[in-house]
Symmetry: C2
Subunit: 215 residues, 2 copies
């Protein structure tokens, strides 16, 4: 019964498949094929089949996959039945956008609390999210059963915020600050670095149009 190890690269694609499948189900499609899924997910069909094969999923040869069943399988693999409460750290421009976003709650990641150093904010409720002082973090995490911490503080405060989250028992962190935070090995950090993304795009732009002479 033990699901074999699912490769990281596959895990990263499962949410995309799940979205496509949900859309197909909403469209009333009862079955689908690796070709159709590949098209929707922007990958190639062989990859879809291999990915799904890691789930121990069984499509039907000559027919395709049953959409409802596949939704179930992928959901189970991702554990989307679970709800993982989120705390947002730093309610600036970005933090507010995140706190306000309804899409996360729909997917099982409700923002249940926030922290900020700004004395004006502490004690208030923004978009339905109560703002606490950072020194209350551990308390809030325990009370709300927070599983994931989001860092949306300025870069200078990112490491200390990560330390607080770790101390509070959080083992999953989504970091938006343009820094590399260090945490114990049993804590997973995913960094979403928008400047880096832009710089990668910039690199390719420069590469594709190289008729300039450099200094």
């Amino acid at each position: 019964m033990a699901t074999a190890r699912i490769p990281e690269a596959t895990v990263a694609r499962l949410p995309v498949y799940l979205r496509s499948l949900t859309e197909l189900a909403a469209d009333g499609q009862a079955t689908t094929s690796s070709d159709i899924l590949a098209e929707r997910a922007g990958v190639n069909a062989a990859k879809v089949r291999k990915d799904l094969s890691y789930l121990g999923t069984h499509g039907t040869r000559g027919v395709g996959y049953d959409v409802r069943h596949l939704v179930f399988e992928v959901s189970r693999a991702l554990g989307v039945a679970n709800t993982w409460p989120v705390i947002v750290c730093g309610l600036g421009n970005l933090g507010r956008a995140l706190a306000n976003h309804t899409g996360f709650t729909e997917r099982g990641f409700p923002v249940v609390a926030a922290i900020d150093v700004d004395a004006e904010l502490v004690g208030t409720t923004i978009d339905g999210v109560a703002v606490h002082s950072p020194d209350k973090l551990a308390e809030v995490v325990a009370a709300e059963g927070v599983a994931i911490g989001v860092i949306a503080t300025p870069a200078a405060a990112a490491q200390e915020t990560a330390d607080l989250l770790v101390a509070a028992g959080i083992r999953s962190i989504l970091d938006f600050s343009p820094t590399v935070v260090s945490v114990p090995p049993d804590v997973e950090v995913r960094a979403v670095d928008l400047s880096t993304e832009l710089q990668i795009l910039g690199f390719h732009l420069q590469r594709d149009l190289p008729p300039e002479v450099n200094l």
Copy 2:
């Protein structure tokens, strides 16, 4: 003089190295080592050396790298001397946060314009960014020399926005919507999908704590 092809994985790390190097320079460090850079960038030292070797960079054996020189080399490889104007499409919660963010301009990615369908917004200026109607996109892109388009519209409008951007001549897109947009092969899309990031964290949380029995 032709710089050899730099692997994608390396390109993605260069911005992180550049940040670390800039910090080191600010700290007054004249030289550094692959060990120190590795520590700061959160990777291992062999990877740092291999990455830098693709730049044709020459550190000094027994000594390390000259920080100023390395800043120069990495900057040149990334083309950070260039400025790539950005347009933000969709000025909702996320779009406003992006438009307001100063960090991008500092790194050579000024937000020079925005588009939105909301008639209330069109014609106004938000955080110094003029908001235009989507049908003015091509015009604005040409006038401002926009190089990169950011999609921060609702998912339902993402594809049509991408089409508009492509039609306007944009070849680099950063997409925040939870969708896969399709574009011609010569256009690069980088998707930043926050829900997917959370779902990946959720997957690992579930995997690390598996004492439950499933349906």
